[in-house]
Symmetry: C2
Subunit: 342 residues, 2 copies
């Protein structure tokens, strides 16, 4: 645990080092398997543009790793040896990004970010998910966007770390759902306000008590300022949510015994944005509070899921199977686990 691999350290100090290493490794590797190959062919094989490849080749040539002849480029003895020496590290260097790509393909996502570690055992990993999540959210934001956010500890951590260049005077943060029985610092309302405060955006609260009678529910929904927030939720272009284990969430939200029994019977596995899912991603149950509906999830342009820890891998897989998430931010352990159950 303490003898951290130097690659992990380097990733912090020089974040793009690993990517560049990967790129150059791929180039050398491709030349190795090709024997002798020309620049254009190489560019096509590696899906790089001719010019960027050329810059890399110049560097590699400068380092004496490859030679240029009239028929194309070949690895030098030095280059071949380097590739061989690099072999043991390749798995590690490529580990996370390969994981990201694997998860992305398996669940048909637009983007996957995997941070190192396991949130179940490492506070570091949790923080990294928060940081990575906030970065993803920042990148996804366009002027005028309304962002609907859920609650939860991961969401709170994300909110606590977001930073923007310039104040987002043109954006809104709204809670995706009314009160869901969480303690106040992890409620969607709190998170929306924290996000707004830290980014200079505006926000709205949605105060709808849990467990209302149908009649009371209809009444409160007629309230203008509830109506207004719900309308904003309907128009949200971005939705950010955590993913939880069904039973844990049910307990945390103090569902009544009957409901819990029913959830168990139906095979509830995961929870996200107030819905419970079974292992196939089918919706089992809906929390009784106002706000985001499934149609809104489908209408949103970017749905971002945040969750980490090996124990959540299966739940993540279930929610991803539901099929409406676009971006996943998770950690190594959860990603591996999700793949197993995908």
């Amino acid at each position: 645990m303490h003898m951290q691999n130097i690659l992990h350290i380097q990733k912090k100090l020089v974040p793009d080092l690993v990517q560049v290493m990967q790129k150059r490794y791929k180039i050398l590797h491709q030349i190795l398997v090709s024997g002798t190959v020309g620049r254009r062919t190489l560019a096509a094989n590696l899906d790089l543009t001719e010019r960027t490849l050329r810059s890399e080749l110049d560097i590699l040539r400068e380092q004496g790793l490859l030679e240029t002849g009239t028929t194309g480029m070949t690895l030098t003895e030095s280059g071949r040896r380097l590739l061989e020496e690099l072999e043991p590290f390749v798995k590690e260097v490529f580990g996370l990004s390969e994981l990201e790509e694997a998860v992305r393909l398996k669940f048909g996502l637009r983007k996957v970010v995997v941070v190192p570690g396991d949130s179940d055992v490492s506070e570091d990993a949790k923080r990294e998910i928060g940081r990575a999540g906030s970065r993803v959210l920042s990148q996804s934001l366009s002027p005028g966007d309304i962002v609907a956010v859920m609650g939860g500890t991961t969401m709170a951590r994300m909110a606590a770390q977001i930073k923007v260049q310039a104040p987002l005077t043109d954006n809104w943060f709204v809670p995706a759902r009314g009160g869901l029985g969480e303690s106040v610092e992890y409620q969607a309302n709190t998170i929306a306000s924290e996000l707004a405060k830290r980014t200079g955006a505006r926000y709205r609260m949605l105060h709808v008590p849990d467990h209302l009678s149908e009649e009371a529910y209809q009444t409160i929904m007629q309230e203008p300022n509830v109506r207004e927030v719900v309308d904003m939720i309907r128009r949200a272009r971005i939705v950010v949510h955590g993913i939880g284990d069904a039973i844990t969430m049910a307990r945390r939200r103090k569902l009544d015994a009957d409901t819990v029994r029913e959830l168990l019977k139906d095979g509830a596995l995961a929870e996200a944005f107030g819905y419970y899912f079974d292992k196939n991603g089918a919706v089992i149950h809906r929390m009784a509070t106002a706000g985001l509906r499934l149609e809104d999830i489908e209408a949103a342009e970017t749905v971002i899921g945040l969750a980490g820890g090996r124990s959540k891998g299966e739940a993540i897989a279930a929610v991803l199977r539901f099929g409406h998430d676009d971006i996943l931010v998770t950690d190594e352990a959860a990603a591996e686990e999700a793949l197993k159950h995908g």
Copy 2:
């Protein structure tokens, strides 16, 4: 030997990023020892410009390694931990550049280039010295410059690897000394011609047999084309030479027994540009052939010495003590050894 450290690999694969790593480490380290420090102070301490430092600081802050307060910048817990984790690798990351700086200061040189390895045992290191030497020479060249070169295997390797962007139509390569009894492929004449051929520059040969009588010597020096080359040598702005062990060189050049004995008696240790030096850098003996004199060495703007291998460390130190070299290109083992004897 075979389980190479990944840092060695990275130095080859991503040398640019390793430098960036060094820079960022230095910044973090400086902040650590300063406790809290402002940008300007930091820039002055690290000898960086304010703006470049600032870009780096932004990245490091983005990585959560440092925090910015009203009184200056401080490392975060993350940053301190990173620095601690990095400690075991620092020596290795900085190994060569620290070595370069140490040698540079010890012998008062303008520039020192140290390549990894030991030429005594590694063919790779020899080639790297050649490559590095050719790069240094290219960088030192200005239009119109005359370059005087010596012979030797290291010089030959350098010549074989030099490359230039555009042909040096305005430069001359001349042998620094007439024949010095080396086999033809390592003679200064050959090297000058090879360098010229590979760079598009022009060259002159200097054919002066060894061991001439004083009379014959005076006669040959009156020869117009000898005279002409010697004049060019006098005007050389750059001198490039190898450094040898005195006894080895004496033997290779088949000096007569008397002279060798005399060299030994006088404590000859090193040889460079036809002169023999004792351990204090004092000139013991001069080879009897035409060409470069000590005055010319002093007049030259840039004197570049090339030599590697632990066994040559002491000789290198002796020549550097002579005090007229500006740039040294060597390998790790020789540099370490030279420091011991400096």
